[in-house]
Subunit: 490 residues, 2 copies
């Protein structure tokens, strides 16, 4: 899960992990990261700790798991081939990311017990991997999840936990919604009150919080080790009450509004007529871009109810230039499709009723239709957490649609992929997030990875039910959705 | 849960929470803590925020929840009376602890949704409490849980999480196992290497960790707000490799052993012939006692395989004097019953085969029979986490026994109560802890609270299955034990 593109059971005996098993890996830090992760899974599953051998096969290889890099291995940057034979497992990929995804597949072939960090065996079990051949590559390059850390703040450890969980399903983007009316979550040294004042609130009146620059870098590094690119978002011109409350000068009237802890939207906007607004944006974008190795910077742009259409377009185009000037590609919510966008810019489609014509003209598209993949929507009328302004979204509804059919007339290749946001108005803990994200996040991951023709709800739901022991081992607070035969847990 | 001592459905309409509802509370910080907690539960369940009125009833009380303190209210310090009528809920108790337990009972009468911190209602539900009368008091004064933070370290937030969960079931002691072979977890300024060196290890080679004095005080304060007394344990003379590895001088041979990250027991012991050993113990006990408001200090005493019986007894008696000299009552594992104990000392029975005769002579007893209430024992042979050296412990086995019958001949009144330890050799996260603790912790809580004659497995298991929605709302990673009809979750 997600289902590989091609998978064939092979004749012959399964591969058995033995005390002689070694992991062979090419030189370099990223492959070593992947090999170390694989070693941890194998050790936890089997009690054995294979030696990691760098860049050369042992002379008499009795039992080898080989991670190999070969520019010609696969046509996809993130694809991999996995062959399992009696004495040899081979993962071939053209990039370390491909190796990482091959290892996630091996991880899922190991017993769920491999997910426990501290399991002890009195009598370690014999661990085997079935003989098979897999040729795999993702359907889309953008396989995203978004976490709203603004409405409620989530700690560094909580964000890392979410990275752990999305990486298992080969999701490769984590979009962090870092600022909204209720809180500003990233330290910006040139505007220190953004966090000093704007960071100290959240929905419901809790203490809020923010990431220091070092903490943000820690998150970025952790994501990198899981082949996840952080996409930071500073929402503007709307959803900015936390910034406006921090600096009176940013307000047209020159007075700062009170901190906001409710859940309305659309009431706040940066003052588009003030020069200081663009100085502010330039500072924030510059500092954020400097901390962010990934090529993307999300500038929001949604739900602005206080500007004329022309003011809005002008603003977006000016912000786009600022983002470009600091070397990043702008991402914006689908309202920005009304502006004149650069060929590098990316539109994130979220409103089910957004103009399909404007969307079709976008240079690039990410698909996050709220009535399909907003993970904070309730499962059904009885779900306690979450909202339902877009729809109730049972698991099947999140799974059963075709991203390529959503925006008729979109330029071929313009759809970069799919992203599942989770907004946190009703969520204050990672356990709350997990309850809404699982099982639907797995559905979205497969939507983004597996070719449309191979996805079938009937077979997906069987594989989904089989995840229960692994999710239990990971301690995931998942919703046991009705209609799915959840495997018993031990 | 635990089942109250006496509960009667009453005639008449249920109590309805309305915008006019007020909470009336006596003056003082502890009652206000309880009222504030009650307010939070009501707000989350109903969307309404009752006013808290201190020390006087409103003139025209349309709808009141009254927390009242009355020295004559109940004969038990921790008991309470709860009456629910159409326009008035009254909790009467002789102490704030009794009010707290009354509020836990109200909490369990509220919908499970009250456990969500950030739930938002579009249309808040009408919340009612059924008309009833409860007269309740605990069977035992010692209703304990123990968390082993030595084998794997658990953060302050994780310990607070455990306090949250045990308090729901009226458990009132949290015993923290703060030092063992694999790690020393509390800052002791006079012996700084205990944490600098001894804190940096844990089972399996992880980073370990420790609590600063301020963090420990934070835990103690959080426990106090939940009417839980922290019982700190420094295990000695055995289980001391972390201390011995920190200071060469503490070793008979004068050289420090290596840090230990395995799971053997019995190999380490303080050098009972060295004066510095008692200087060390006196410093540690003095500093720990000064940080600990509760009357208990646990000195361990278990599994010493390297001393003669006489050396062991002499050591225990000397330590007992040190503990007494710093104003605390010594608690020790059941091996200490071989020594001459002070009338204030407490023996914690854990070995199923411990001498019942020695136990019967103990001044005070806490019952933690490993084959009944060691929560780290597996549920059955298929359980992945945990150990099984004492027994597999299905839920019924943890519930179906009588503490008063365990030690024949024990002096009347000497059994203070029951404690459920959880050892962390195989547990590295609070989610792992939860999987073994729930549902068995609820069984132990009822064992310690409810009179023996009112406890029946057949009815208990029905109430247990009904906890599933609340546990889901709390994000508890609980084991869905077979044979129990777990209520569906939303």
């Amino acid at each position: 899960m997600p289902l590989p593109q091609r998978i064939e059971a092979a004749a012959g005996a399964p591969f058995t992990v033995t005390p002689q098993t070694v992991i062979v890996v090419p030189a370099g830090a990223p492959p070593m990261t992947v090999a170390t992760q694989l070693l941890a899974f194998i050790r936890r599953a089997s009690g054995l700790s294979p030696e990691i051998v760098v860049a050369r096969e042992p002379a008499q290889p009795a039992s080898v798991i080989a991670l190999t890099l070969d520019p010609a291995a696969t046509s996809s940057d993130e694809g991999y081939d996995l062959t399992i034979e009696a004495a040899r497992v081979t993962v071939r990929a053209s990039t370390p990311a491909g190796l990482f995804y091959g290892v996630q597949t091996i991880r899922q072939l190991l017993p769920a017990a491999a997910e426990y960090e501290a399991l002890l065996y009195r009598k370690p079990p014999t661990v085997t991997l079935p003989a098979l051949r897999i040729a795999d590559a993702p359907r889309f390059e953008w396989r995203g999840a978004m976490l709203d850390v603004a409405r409620h703040f989530f700690s560094v450890d909580e964000v890392k936990r979410y990275i752990d969980l999305i990486a298992l399903y080969k999701i490769n983007r984590l979009h962090l919604h870092l600022a909204d009316d209720q809180g500003w979550r990233l330290e910006i040294p040139s505007w220190p009150d953004l966090t000093r004042k704007g960071g100290a609130s959240e929905v419901g009146g809790g203490p809020g919080g923010f990431y220091t620059r070092d903490q943000y870098k820690d998150i970025v590094g952790y994501a990198e080790a899981h082949f996840v690119t952080i996409v930071p978002e500073i929402d503007m011109p709307g959803h900015t009450n936390a910034a406006l409350a921090s600096y009176a000068d940013l307000n047209c009237k020159g007075t700062a509004p009170a901190p906001y802890t409710g859940t309305d939207v659309g009431f706040s906007a940066l003052c588009v007529d003030l020069d200081v607004t663009y100085k502010f944006i330039d500072d924030v974008v510059r500092e954020l871009a400097a901390l962010t190795p990934g090529p993307y910077l999300h500038a929001g742009g949604d739900e602005v109810k206080t500007l004329t259409p022309e003011q809005y377009r002008t603003f977006v185009e000016r912000v786009q230039k600022i983002v470009e000037s600091h070397g990043k590609r702008m991402v914006g919510w689908d309202e920005v499709s009304a502006a004149a966008l650069l060929p590098t810019s990316i539109v994130q489609h979220w409103r089910p009723d957004a103009s399909k014509q404007l969307l079709a003209g976008s240079p690039h598209l990410i698909l996050s239709p709220a009535d399909r993949v907003y993970l904070d929507m309730k499962y059904d009328d009885s779900t306690l957490l979450g909202l339902n302004w877009a729809a109730n979204i049972p698991v099947q509804r999140s799974y059963d649609w075709d991203p390529d059919a959503l925006v008729p007339g979109a330029r071929p290749g313009s759809v970069l992929g799919v992203e599942a946001p989770i907004w946190s108005e009703t969520l204050s803990t990672m356990r709350d997030v997990e309850y809404l994200a699982f099982p639907r996040l797995a559905a979205v991951a497969e939507l983004a990875w597996t070719p449309q023709g191979q996805r079938r709800w009937d077979t997906f739901k069987v594989r989904l039910g089989a995840q229960a022991p692994r999710w239990t081992a990971l301690g995931i607070n998942f919703f046991r959705a009705p209609g799915i035969d959840w495997a018993p847990t031990r």
